[in-house]
């Protein structure tokens, strides 16, 4: 499954690059700057998705019937990917903002809440590094993950609720049937969304497997240390036995 996802995202991203750079026309207003449309929204979507999966896993961990370390590890893996994509969202948005708006950054509601979102989930990851009992950590970080996720709907609705320099949503909005993107631009945007989502799936599988290996390494390291201590004790036991 992992190899399939990896291959799929590679093909999808290559297709997005070709479509975005060579096939699609320049925009009426933006000209060639429109080509960031095939990167920035999809990256932002993956950040939403990753944080959403994290929040869902947090709920499933906190729910007594479904409590398992699977959800804890999944939440951690997804949050990590989310942080990377949230940072990429800010970076690509800034790069897009400079030529279109004329500024790298403004403190409008959309940009500010997104920066807060990044800070919240970096905080979540920091909390996970506080060494403690795994069960305590899992429970504590599950609550923190849910609190951090509360910012996602605020980020998304910020362009509707308040006056922002950032334009309203193009894709994730009511009235999807009447698109504000036309022709080949629309389906290239769709291809970019699909391929970045597949990339997220691949990264999640990889990161989860790494987390499993990490915890096994910790466990086996403990076992190894214990057996070494036992081995050290062994000769003493045998000499005592022999002297008798």
């Amino acid at each position: 499954v992992s190899r399939l996802l990896g291959l799929g995202s590679l093909i999808g991203l290559a297709l997005t690059a070709v479509l975005g750079l060579f096939i699609t026309p320049p925009d009426r207003v933006m000209g060639n700057l429109v080509r960031l449309l095939y990167v920035h929204p999809a990256v932002a979507w993956v950040a939403y998705l990753a944080f959403g999966v994290c929040a869902l896993a947090c709920i499933l961990y906190l729910w007594p019937r479904t409590r398992s370390f699977f959800w804890d590890r999944l939440a951690a893996a997804s949050a990590e990917i989310g942080v990377v994509f949230c940072a990429l969202t800010l970076a690509t948005g800034s790069i897009w903002g400079r030529p279109t708006w004329g500024v790298w950054w403004v403190w409008d509601a959309r940009l500010t809440t997104t920066a807060i979102l990044l800070a919240l989930f970096i905080g979540y990851l920091a909390l996970r590094r506080v060494s403690t009992d795994p069960t305590v950590r899992a429970k504590r970080s599950a609550v923190a993950g849910l609190v951090a996720f509360a910012d996602v709907p605020i980020v998304h609705m910020s362009v509707v609720w308040w006056n922002t320099l950032h334009q309203p949503a193009t894709v994730l909005r009511p009235g999807l049937a009447s698109p504000t993107v036309t022709g080949s631009m629309a389906w290239t945007l769709l291809v970019s969304f699909v391929s970045f989502t597949v990339l997220y799936g691949w990264l999640l599988v990889q990161r989860y497997q790494a987390a499993v290996l990490e915890s096994r390494w910790e466990d086996e390291g403990m076992q190894l240390a214990l057996s070494e201590r036992w081995a050290e004790a062994d000769p003493a036991v045998t000499t005592i036995g022999a002297s008798r």
Partner: protein, 166 residues
Amino acid sequence: LSTTLSTAPASHPAPPLAVRRRRSRRRAWLLVGVVLVALGVLLYKGLSSATTFFYTADQAVHLKASLGTTRFNLEGTVVPGTVRRDGNSVAFSVSNHGTIVPVINRGYPPQLFQPGIPVVLEGRFSGSTFDSDLIMVKHSSDYVAAHPDRVSNYVGKTGTPAKGGG
């Protein structure tokens, strides 16, 4: 419960582990609550300035008396036919909901600046004109091909490629 424990003699044994644990847990949650409230206040303070990122041209004219000469962001659409470049500055008018505000901007406008585009301007009122030193282009969420009929233009009505097309 706490008063009876605190007035207990020194020789009295410490409260049982379960009670102590419960109390420390309560204290931890209290701390979390305090942190959350502080975060909430900060967010509210920070966001209240971010949420009023700009006033639209009609709002700004309406609030002109209270705004005075304080700096704020003004939003409006560049009125076609009013743009005049003059050396390092550009003069134009923006409109929103039928209210037109004349603007003088010092400095070069960004590359997407053009008549009919919505802009956010940073500056202050100086008399009835808005004295701005930063133009930010507020583009829409619509993306339309620059020349949607370029193929038909190229092919032409006769079905053969027009000369010099493409």
